[in-house]
Point group: C2
Chain length 278, copies 2
């Protein structure tokens, strides 16, 4: 089945530039978003307003969701105005949010009962990659559905990896977030110790980059820490959610998470202590 129209639900920091890239690639685009402004912007650029997740699902062949957390994806999928209420056999739901692998599999089963595919396709590369169309996309689900969706994915990302059945994309993203956040915690602990002990953190970073301590996080985020660049590149709330998914997935598969769980707790404590995340 050829793809005529693409649906996009969730026009946030990631979703909005991705939706623009689909328009630029020539897809007919139907959008929906909780707040109005982003819908108006996309409609001005040539998209049409799906009015509800159900409306988007009725009009599009591939329906993309890009939302903050598992409950958000569940709420646009289910209920009388949800995607599942508007979907039909042969259509593909592609969830590009970072959510729980368990919730992904549950929703994919519901889609399958209606004859539709649901791919989990979380991304990495941040808002920079979203704008440039250079995201890395980790996909779980049936290979046939992925192959059909490839023209859409190619408009959004550079590296598209099929990791396995439903949930495998989210598991891979969880592994990515685990390694990234724990490495960031390690780099932070080391640079703070260096500074408190009277050393020059920039010089310590240089030495560590020359050995086994080398990482992209030490290179990039270590540099930002040293420059006291406090401009947030992402959200504490997202970091807490991501590490929570890691720890919960560890419980699901009987895989211990000593470092990931302590980093989750550090982030959570930071959130509560600063009053930013309640």
């Amino acid at each position: 089945m050829e793809i005529h129209a693409v649906g996009f639900i969730g026009l946030g920091m990631m979703g909005k530039p991705m939706a623009h890239n689909l328009l630029k690639a020539g897809f007919s685009l139907v959008v929906h978003n909780r707040s109005r402004a982003a819908v108006d912007e996309l409609v001005s650029a040539g998209a049409s307003d799906g009015r509800s997740p159900k409306g988007v699902a009725q009009r599009a062949d591939v329906i993309i969701t890009c939302l903050p957390d598992s409950p958000d994806v569940r709420s646009v999928m289910e209920g009388p105005d949800g995607i599942l209420a508007g979907i039909s056999a042969g259509k593909i739901i592609m969830d590009m949010s970072t959510i729980s692998p368990a919730v992904t599999r549950e929703l994919a089963e519901k889609a399958a009962r209606l004859g539709a595919d649901m791919l989990d396709a979380p991304v990495s590369g941040g808002d920079v990659g979203a704008r440039a169309g250079t995201l890395a996309i980790m996909v779980g689900g049936r290979r046939e559905a992925l192959e059909r969706a490839m023209p859409v994915l190619n408009a959004l990302g550079k590296t598209i990896a099929h990791m396995g059945d439903s949930g495998a994309g989210q598991i891979t993203k969880a592994c990515n977030q685990l390694v990234t956040y724990v490495t960031l915690e390690a780099v932070s602990e080391a640079l703070v110790l260096a500074a408190k002990a009277g050393l020059e953190p920039a010089q310590v970073r240089e030495v560590l980059l020359g050995g086994f301590g080398h990482s992209r996080v030490l290179e990039l985020h270590g540099g930002l820490i040293i420059d006291s660049n406090m401009r947030p590149g992402w959200d504490l709330r997202q970091a807490i959610k991501d590490t929570r998914i890691v720890v919960e997935t560890g419980w699901e598969y009987g895989s211990p998470m000593p470092a990931a769980s302590v980093v989750c707790e550090v982030l959570r404590t930071t959130g509560y202590a600063s009053g930013e995340v309640i």
Copy 2:
């Protein structure tokens, strides 16, 4: 003062190849080691037997120690047969062990009262770097002493960085071990999760190497984990000691160590559980 003879105390996995490199570089070498075999090997290669740490200190201009832990360095420094009993003004003690920065500073003060310098000069690069003479060396202590010792250091390592006053080399090494061990724990947790969830860990590693999860540890040690290469490259006892130093140094400087302390506890638990480290 020109350097005629170099002393070497501690001819272990690291020390022995380093001592051989000093002979190859043309230094007159005086050695001491707790067990006899390594002394015999170096004597056959042209070194002379100092018979005790005191004997080495009496005969050498630069006295290198390369030992497992803080108490070992303390015991070759102090007592009637110790380095400090044989040292005299103008000589340089260079401790290349990885030990507590606090113990380093205390011993350096004792050496200073006798008119001698003590540099802390821990290394990174493992036994491979020790054999090849390509170690990275992180130095704390007086710059004048380091400059005098440079010909010796150049025979042992490739990158020599002066990090600050006494203890600064050990602080830098602690930062290096912190980042390396915590990253290794993160990589381990991620690859075990991937395997338990039915994914191909090698494929997950590839995807992570393409993003913020990239690190030398994921590249090298991640590859060893996937290949089930269980040949130890170092010692659990050393890993426990290194992370203990990190956590204790964090307490000394008021620098919190949530991830480093949990990794220290993971290593310690592994040691007790396996009966390898009591």
